[in-house]
């Protein structure tokens, strides 16, 4: 995966548009989720994500100097989203909004079979019922694979907060899972 990203990074640097499309396909859903959590409105979140990739393309001559492209994308999304917020909704607080995680995928994955569809559903419900900030942090760590320190820098919070929030999310989710495997604790 990491090799693919470097490959796209190099491709974009040399002016290869299909590489930009691949990078877009891979990252835009997660970046959209982050943008939406910051600026609340879907329309603006769409514009933010578009701006991120337009910026990547416009600055492609210098893209080879970016050490960690993934982090660069997340940080750029955060910056552009905050700019939008300042420009268009200065009175709104930048509190994290109720962005709902996508619905579970249909089909029988090995995990499905292992813990059953009903339990999966309950875990999805539980994830969506986490407080917005807790859910976003959990998602950034678990789904997007960001480091604790990266999430802290991105959301301008302490690493301690990230540790706590991931712990709280895990605690709530494990309660449900444990019920379904019949383990009392």
């Amino acid at each position: 995966m990491h090799d693919e990203i470097s490959e796209w990074q190099h491709g974009i640097h040399t002016g290869d548009t299909p590489a930009l499309k691949k990078l877009y396909d891979h990252f835009s859903p997660s970046l959209f989720h982050l943008a939406l959590a910051i600026i609340h409105t879907r329309e603006m979140a769409e514009e933010v994500v578009a701006d991120v990739f337009i910026q990547v393309w416009q600055k492609r001559q210098h893209l080879d100097q970016v050490q960690n492209l993934k982090w660069y994308l997340y940080a750029t999304t955060r910056n552009i989203a905050l700019n939008y917020l300042r420009k268009y909704a200065p009175h709104k607080t930048s509190q994290l909004d109720d962005t709902i995680l996508p619905a579970p995928p249909a089909g029988d994955t090995p995990e499905d079979l292992l813990i059953g569809h009903e339990a999966m559903q309950q875990i999805y419900i539980a994830i969506n019922e986490l407080p917005p900030q807790c859910r976003l942090i959990f998602k950034l760590v678990k789904e997007d694979g960001l480091k604790y320190r990266e999430v802290a820098a991105l959301l301008d919070i302490s690493i301690k907060t990230v540790e706590n929030q991931v712990g709280i999310a895990l605690k709530k989710l494990l309660r449900i899972k444990a019920q379904h495997v019949g383990n009392p604790f």
Partner: protein, 330 residues
């Protein structure tokens, strides 16, 4: 607090952030509570659950990409800024001389092309007019003339226009079978190459419609009026009617602006054609009789399988979707 520490450590364990020291602390905590032994395994399995397998909706995904793509295609980068400056200076000098010499003799239009793929595309023209292009639609205008000598565009497909008032030049839209002349207004034009009719629905203001195949003939349209001409060149039939409205009072011709495909007692053949445009697929019928089935409804943003399943509720047929091909059978 001591209750929370185990969860913090489990989170770090599952996400791979844990240090050797913390791992030792976690194992010590677990050793003190035999019930907790299973937690490490459970935490790992939660981590392996695919909770994010679904990407953004394809329509949204495509819409954002269209926005990026239009900017990407209209930019051209030079690797070396310094060489670029020199090159630009030379080109400017040569260009200026060439312009002076050639201008009176040569007219070379520069076409500005905007195309919506499977999504929609909103754009603002140099005169401030706003256009929302429906999927698979294309708008072309001459960059050099537009707003200076004229305001003429050519449309294939469907678009909603909000034309900025501009006394010097009327705004003219050319389609295969209609030319529309405008003086500040908003209206919808539907002129897909695959449609059997071409229509314009006026929302506000005033427009004049003329017909390239019937010189001399022109119709002035009033708000909430609609004009329809057959796409076949042999026909000269022009139908003028009122814009159809839905129960909420919105013109049905504008529903696509909100991402809806609307059909009212339409044959499966016609609907299939619209769905082909909407989803970017090819639809094949195993029996011609299936094409006669009639349907009414609204397609929003659901995937094609969902739409077909919904249609199955009112008429009996079977379908198979494979890549971009759809087969309809009895």
């Amino acid at each position: 607090m001591s209750d929370n520490i185990i969860w913090i450590l489990l989170g770090k364990y599952a996400s791979g952030e844990i240090t050797a020291e913390e791992l030792a602390a976690l194992d010590a905590l677990i050793a003190a509570h035999p019930d907790a032994a299973v937690l490490k395994t459970l935490a790992t399995s939660i981590w392996e659950l695919p909770t994010d397998a679904m990407p953004a909706h394809p329509v949204v995904h495509q819409r954002i990409w269209n926005r990026v793509n239009i900017r990407v295609r209209h930019s051209f980068a030079w690797r070396s800024p310094r060489r670029l400056a020199a090159a630009a200076a030379i080109i400017v000098v040569i260009g200026w001389i060439a312009w002076k010499i050639m201008m009176p003799y040569v007219y070379s239009p520069r076409q500005q092309i905007s195309e919506a793929g499977t999504g929609k595309l909103s754009l603002t023209l140099p005169d401030g007019s706003k256009v929302c292009l429906n999927h698979h639609s294309r708008l072309v205008y001459d960059d050099r003339q537009f707003g200076k000598k004229n305001r003429e565009v050519t449309l294939t497909g469907e678009a909603f226009f909000e034309v900025a008032g501009h006394a010097a030049h009327p705004f003219v839209i050319h389609t295969s079978r209609m030319n529309i002349t405008v003086l500040g207004t908003s209206f919808n034009v539907k002129a897909y190459a695959t449609d059997s009719i071409i229509s314009t629905t006026l929302i506000s203001g005033k427009i004049a419609v003329s017909f390239p195949h019937q010189p001399g003939k022109a119709v002035e349209l009033l708000p909430n009026e609609k004009i329809i001409v057959p796409a076949a060149t042999a026909s000269t039939n022009i139908v003028r009617s009122f814009a159809q409205k839905d129960s909420s009072g919105k013109a049905t011709d504008l529903l696509w602006l909100n991402n809806k495909l609307v059909f009212d007692n339409e044959s499966f053949a016609t609907l299939a054609q619209q769905m082909e445009q909407w989803y970017g697929v090819s639809i094949h019928f195993a029996h011609p009789s299936l094409m006669q089935l009639k349907f009414s409804g609204i397609i929003d943003t659901e995937p094609i399988e969902e739409t077909l399943k919904a249609l199955q509720l009112s008429r009996s047929f079977t379908f198979q979707v494979h890549n971009r091909e759809v087969w309809i059978d009895k």
